[in-house]
Amino acid sequence: MSFALVSLAITGLLAAVTWKLASDFLVAKREQGATSQAAIDARLVQDAPRDPAGADSEGLLTGLAGGGDITVAVRRAGTWTTSGHPIDVDALPDELLALANSGVAARQRVMLGGIPVLAVALPLRDGLYLELAPLTELDATLRFLSWVLVVGVGVSGLLGLALGGWASTRALRPLTDLRDAAARMAAGDLDARLPEQDDADLAPLAVTFNRTAEDLQRRVRRDVRFAGDVSHELRSPLTTLVNAVAVLRRRRDDLPLPARQAVDLLDADVHRFQKMVTELLEISRDEQIDPRDLEVCDVVDVVAHALATRPDVVLDVRGSPPQVPVDRRRLDRVVMNLLENAEQHAGGAVRVGVASSSVGVRIEVDDAGPGIPVELRDEVFERFSRGANAGRREDSGGTGLGLALVARHVRAHHGRIHIEDSPDGGARVVVELPWCTT
């Protein structure tokens, strides 16, 4: 843009100078020609034999005026004799005539009857000689010249704009790439990298950026893997725990009361612990779905199965929801976790809706709770988020991972999840799964 402006300014200046020089030169040339012509003509008039009445010969004046569009006028003793185009002498500027009257040759460009005219006034011995040469031709020439210059400036400006745009895009592309890559990374795409740069100034920047991105990605992976590794290592002792507790539980009735209570506590928390480890493993697992695990399936089937053991929950199928490609086990987890989450935190689900949506299929789980405040609706999908249930987890038996896992599975299907108010005042979790997951 600035490139175009500079280009416009330069060509404009050049054009203006050209215009000034050319027009001055042409006008001067024309004036000079007209003046010397007038001087010659004036001498002819001066020296011409006069008729007895002292009037100028009409023939001479006609001859002088003839051929061109020149108007010739002679004043003697206050009387004008004209030839050529009739003119109104009074329209001529007074200074011009006054100057000629005082014995000085004068010339001036004036407008007469809408036509630019060069007026040359020359003193005669006993009068005034006036020659008016129209400048129409010169005017046309100058007009053409000015038109050419204006168009030239315009074209050059446009060219400058185009060239500037092209050059700046080219020059700025690496920066645009950098900005895009940084934005992608900020949006969570840790695979974003910059292409290698030829530019000596930018190459180190790209290298540094890519190295930083790599470090970041490695660190994030390591963190995710750490959770997985911890859970992995916990599974052996957990297997021992779970099975030892199962043996104890089976003999619960043979135990004295305090031991029985201890076993009950142990049993409940070992199960929660086990679930947490399983879910942590699931959540730290690669989010990508193996395409071989995708299966076109009827969401209603999966929901109906999950609801088979929950007769109080209404299954509300609207229209004919489309079949979508899903990893059935993940979809099953999604539905199960949503129902369990409603049971643990919101008095249970009351209705599960399945309908088609603009992207594919829409699943709604309405609960009997008090709803979730708008400001907590994103937070509840975070791992171990306490959200609206702060301080109540110990009663719920939840792991704090259920909804995070749901969100992860939905994302893995390129679906969307959010929370609304249900018409009955509870919360409504809405999951949308697309037709196409690739």
Partner: protein, 259 residues
């Protein structure tokens, strides 16, 4: 990972006959290098009604199997020394003793590798004895001869469920016997009984493996692959057990006797 058990000395925590009678319970060999898991699982599976004896390595397992009667092997794939997959392959080469593998992660390629090495089913740690017992019972059910009479046909393959017999009538010569594992056999019987109709994956997983819902379809797919290798003229272009995309599997009906 340390093992506190001296080699070649199976933990015999609970494998003792009760009431002076010979133990009629199903015998399970547990192969795991973690002594605590061996003990806890042995106790819990004993509660579930199985007689368990446990060893710490693949070498011990192979040696012990030569001596003792076993109905099911529970095999951890992560073993010191001889690796679990190798043990699995060796056992499969020796016969169709039911094998359940114990894997570290359900999403790993380990599951597929174990199934392809011949395992009938798998469980993932942390193992819960109750769930494991259900898997074992389903597996033992398939191991017993069924009482279904009559014969079934899939193309030129003849099945006799009452005798556990599979014969191939191909090429006009005398029928040749085909050896299928119990799981492969049960799978083929389920497909043949449908008489050419599609059987969904869920149904197969339920009827053969006892999963009440959404078993691992990899389990089924690997077994179908193994089955095809044994019965199809060209396993890469199956003509007997066909995949019906998005639905399940289908076995063709009886072929002309002239085949």
């Amino acid at each position: 990972m340390s093992t506190m058990t001296p080699p070649l000395q199976p933990d015999s925590v609970v494998a003792t006959p009760r009431d002076g009678l010979p133990d009629a319970r199903d015998r399970i060999l547990l192969v795991d290098d973690d002594g605590r898991i061996r003990q806890a699982l042995s106790l819990a599976l004993d509660d579930e009604g199985f007689a368990v004896w446990a060893v710490a390595s693949g070498e011990q397992a192979l040696a012990a199997l030569g001596r003792e009667n076993t109905d099911v092997v529970l095999l951890d794939l992560m073993l010191p020394g001889m690796d679990g997959l190798a043990v699995c392959r060796r056992l499969r080469a020796q016969g169709d003793l039911p094998i359940i593998i114990i894997t570290a992660r359900s999403d790993s390629s380990e599951v597929i590798a174990g199934l392809e090495a011949g395992a009938d089913d798998y469980v993932t740690k942390p193992i819960v004895a109750g769930e494991l017992a259900a898997r074992i019972r389903a597996l033992l059910r398939r191991s017993r001869p069924t009482t279904d009479g009559g014969e079934l046909w899939v193309g030129d393959i003849e099945l006799r469920p009452d005798q556990g017999l599979v014969r191939c009538h191909r090429g006009g010569s005398d029928p040749t016997g085909i050896h299928l594992t119990r799981t492969e056999f049960r799978l083929l019987v389920e497909l043949a009984t449908a008489e050419g109709k599609v059987v969904t994956r869920e149904d197969l997983l339920r009827r053969v493996w006892g999963y009440d819902y959404l078993g691992d379809t990899r389990l089924l797919d690997v077994h179908v692959r193994r089955l095809r290798v044994k019965i199809e003229p060209d396993p890469d272009a199956p003509t007997l057990v066909l995949t019906v995309r998005g639905a399940g599997y289908r076995a063709v009906g009886r072929a002309d006797a002239t085949g």
